[in-house]
């Protein structure tokens, strides 16, 4: 028996729709055994009331007529085994000013919801167990953080890193900005000091297995039960995990793609090579010195070029790489501090300094004597005397052609190699730039994959945010792991094996690998299905039915609308 509950929404609906008449329409349906109208159905009291009515009247299915299910679906969801919604507020009351008209529309909407309630099948929720382990792909700061958080809760973690060592890009940095000093005697605030303890901690953990020089080859399975094949130096190995964190980071832009920046010359280097220079001198005992590659001389002039391969400059990637402004400024002032006589120029388009402390840092650098030049760098070439840089100063409306000793290219970030392959393995989407996307970009709903992405794999990030991401991904994974099982959304294709001819059209259409022919007929991988129903719409034999959006239910709704005038008129 169906119970119908009409909500007036404090006048939002009741003033625009004749609820009394609507109730009469509902009651004409012989299957409707109970009708109740309330002005505020989503209130605690009303919900309590519905619950008791459902119990006392023995209602197995109810229809809530009021606002969009997107507003309050969760409030009513577990009140009966089948709950249908008639969205008479957004689709009738609010869009048709004529009361009579709105009422007529609402009546159709209500009837179609009642029909759905009649036809809906009672579903046993699908629960899949979650293997209590996690695979973290990528051993940079983000992945290390995720691994550390997950292992701290006692879950088994496989930390896979393609490189020989953990630490990722951060490991190559000589210092981080804007905090530049941790005190006497060291004045570098080098990432090494932060990373090394973390690395040791991970190696020490009994729950973490670190697999360096290792790559993911193949993935099978679904949320809670992934079988991952790894290529390790010792050979191929298969592991079984319940959740996955992808933290594969980025790679730096290759500046030889912009020939006018003269990267071919010895004294034109990337920012990351600048880091290497510092590190080299540090290990050689040179300490706070910068010597250029060609002749080991301390440069008298250094020019930084910003946005190399970012923001669409000279055909580079369209997006901002986020970190370059700060490290550019950081290096510029570090050089100025080390060698006050050295002239430092920084050629930029816009300085993006939106984070805490960054703006101040930028202003300070100006006062330290770094020359900030807004405008395009036209050419870096090698003259007889050495490097010559031709650039524009937009503020002065003038072009310059000047000799310089060292050019540093502030290169941006790009999706790391293999991101596409990895995305395909895990049925993940990439954005047009080639970075991973969050599970749901638009509306964050419950995740049904058990795969989380963290750090720069999602797009350029600075260290702080990459670490935070690692924590978030770990939190998400932990939430799943702690529950131990996952309840699937009820929408699910069901294959009628007497009809299925095994043509695998469903398999080719399903992006998520949730359905397909393995032996002779199509099979559904429950944990992978996201319920879109493309398979059902395309099945040549109509052998696939959907548990919530079945043909029968939809055609019944169509029939209600087609017959509308006859019934309610």
């Amino acid at each position: 028996m169906i119970g119908v509950f009409l909500c007036g929404c404090d006048g939002e609906v009741s003033e625009r729709i004749d609820l009394k008449w609507l109730g009469e329409v509902a009651e004409r349906d012989p299957d409707v055994g109970y009708l109740e109208t309330d002005e505020h159905l989503c209130s605690k009291e009303a919900v309590r009331k519905i619950r008791s009515i459902v119990e006392s009247k023995n209602l197995d299915r109810i229809v809530i007529a009021g606002c969009s299910p997107r507003t309050h679906e969760k409030i009513f969801d577990d009140l009966a085994s089948i709950v249908e919604f008639a969205n008479i507020r957004e689709q009738a009351a609010w869009v048709h000013p004529e009361k009579e008209e709105a009422t007529r529309v609402a009546a159709d909407i209500l009837q179609s919801a009642i029909v759905r309630a009649k036809l809906a099948a009672e579903l046993e929720p699908v629960r899949v167990p979650i293997e209590p382990s996690c695979l973290v792909i990528g051993g940079g700061v983000s992945g290390m953080q995720a691994a550390s958080d997950l292992s701290a809760q006692g879950y088994r973690v496989y930390l896979v890193e393609r490189d020989e060592r953990l630490g990722g890009r951060v490991k190559r940095l000589s210092m981080t900005f804007p905090t530049i000093s941790c005190g006497f005697p060291c004045r570098h605030d080098c990432p090494e000091c932060e990373l090394t303890p973390k690395e040791e901690e991970l190696y020490a953990s009994e729950f973490v297995e670190i697999l360096t020089s290792t790559e993911v080859m193949e993935v099978e399975g679904r949320i809670g039960d992934y079988h991952v094949t790894l290529r390790t130096p010792e050979g191929v190995r298969e592991i079984k995990v319940g959740t996955v964190v992808i933290a594969t980071g980025t790679k730096t832009y290759d500046p030889s793609r912009i020939p006018e920046y003269g990267y071919e010359f010895e004294d034109v280097i990337t920012s990351i090579e600048l880091e290497d220079l510092y590190m080299k001198h540090r290990f050689l005992g040179g300490g706070g010195e910068l010597r250029r590659p060609s002749d080991d001389a301390i440069p008298k002039r250094v020019d930084f070029i910003q946005c190399v391969g970012s923001r669409g400059e000279k055909g580079g990637n369209p997006y901002c790489s986020i970190v370059c402004c700060l490290y550019g400024i950081g290096h510029a002032r570090a050089i100025k501090e080390m060698h006050p006589a050295c002239e430092v120029y920084l050629h930029f388009t816009n300085i993006q300094a939106p984070y805490r402390g960054f703006e101040e840092y930028y202003r300070e650098s100006e006062s330290l004597g770094v020359n900030f030049v807004r405008g395009e760098v036209k050419l870096v070439e090698k003259g007889e005397e050495g490097l010559v840089i031709t650039y524009e100063d937009v503020d002065l409306q003038k072009s310059f052609e000047e000799a310089t000793d060292l050019v540093v290219l502030s290169v941006g970030q790009e999706p790391s190699d293999g991101a596409k392959e990895l995305a395909e393995l895990f049925y993940r989407e990439l954005d047009p730039d080639g970075f991973f996307t969050e599970v749901n970009q638009k509306i964050v709903r419950e995740d049904a994959t058990g795969v989380f992405v963290a750090g720069c794999a999602l797009g350029p990030r600075n260290i702080r945010y990459a670490v935070a991401d690692g924590k978030i991904a770990a939190e998400n994974a932990l939430a799943l792991l702690k529950k131990g099982e996952f309840e699937m959304e009820g929408i699910m294709p069901i294959v009628d094996d007497t009809k299925c001819i095994g043509c695998n059209i469903c398999g080719n259409l399903c992006y998520f690998g949730a359905i397909g022919v393995t032996e002779e007929i199509a099979e559904v991988v429950e944990g992978k299905c996201r319920g879109c129903g493309i398979c059902a719409a395309a099945c040549p034999e109509k052998a696939i039915t959907l548990t919530q959006f079945d043909d029968e239910e939809i055609t019944a709704q169509i029939e209600v609308f087609a017959r509308a005038g006859e019934v309610s008129g």
Binding site: S68, R70, N87, R89, E90, Q91, A93, W94, V95, H96, P97, E98, E101, A102, R104, V105, D108, I109, S112, E429, P432, N440, K442, I443, I491, C503, I505, N508, L509, Y511, F512, R530, G531, C532, G533, I534, A536, A537, A538, C539, P540, E541, K542, L546, F549, D551, I554, T555, Q557, I558, E559, F561, A562, R563, A564
Partner: protein, 242 residues
């Protein structure tokens, strides 16, 4: 007049909600059916609506590239495009079906496109019996294996096998047109028992030669059988159990 709008759960349904939240008025002839993805909208459902007398059907989904299910909206577009080209030759006004992209933030667009659609249906008038009959036939075509196979395999053929999309579109349209003719032949046979190509040509209004070719094809597929020559023509009847 009745207009049916299929909305996907991720973009156009929230878009319609937003139209409500913004109190944007749109035609009261509009009725909404929610599906998870526009790719769920089987053409059979669209045709079911038309044959039941609904005057216009609009499928709405996420903008290209934004489908929550990656390419469901593209499948929907392929289907609606096919339907429109079939309608052109079947006596149904192709403007009765359309596809629109509406994001969750485009409440205004939802109201606009429904208004425009209403206006268009106003222009072409209510669906007539001829169109309803044709929709019935095409509905049955899209309920049967052959048309569904060719349509369903589009993506595999074009994306995975690299078949020329234009060529495939031609094959698809030709197959559906053939199936429409065969369905009409079947209906006549069901009504009358046994008929020759000529008798069918008179009833259907298509050339006897084309009908005969299709009769031979249907016989090969064991849908019909020939019952021998009667009155100087080969007659065909429906195979038992079809």
């Amino acid at each position: 007049m009745k207009i049916l709008v299929f909305c996907c759960d991720w973009c156009s349904y929230p878009g319609a909600d937003l139209a409500g939240i913004l109190r944007l008025e749109y035609p009261s002839e509009v009725r909404i059916i929610k599906v998870m993805c526009s790719g769920r909208v089987d053409l059979m459902l669209v045709l079911d609506a038309l044959r039941q007398g609904i005057d216009g059907v609009m499928v709405t989904g996420c903008h290209p590239g934004e489908c929550h299910y990656v390419h469901g909206n593209m499948e929907a577009e392929r289907r609606i495009e096919l339907l429109r080209s079939i309608f052109e030759r079947s006596g149904i006004n192709p403007r009765r079906v359309r596809i629109e992209w509406i994001s969750a933030s485009e409440g205004e667009k939802f109201a606009e496109v429904t208004r425009a659609f209403k206006q268009e249906i106003d222009e072409i008038g209510p669906i007539n019996q001829g169109e309803i009959d044709a929709a019935e036939i095409i509905h049955d075509v899209f309920s049967s294996e052959r048309a569904r196979l060719v349509l369903g395999a589009s993506r595999r053929a074009i994306e995975l096998e690299g078949v020329d999309p234009l060529w495939y579109k031609g094959v698809l349209e030709r197959t559906v047109r053939e199936e429409v003719l065969r369905e009409r032949i079947l209906r006549e046979l069901r009504k009358t028992g046994a008929l020759s190509a000529h008798e069918l040509a008179e009833r259907i209004g298509e050339p006897a030669k084309e009908i005969f070719w299709n009769l031979i094809a249907m016989k090969r597929r064991q849908i019909i059988l020939d019952i021998g020559i009667v009155d100087d023509s080969l007659k065909f009847a429906i195979q038992e159990g079809v």
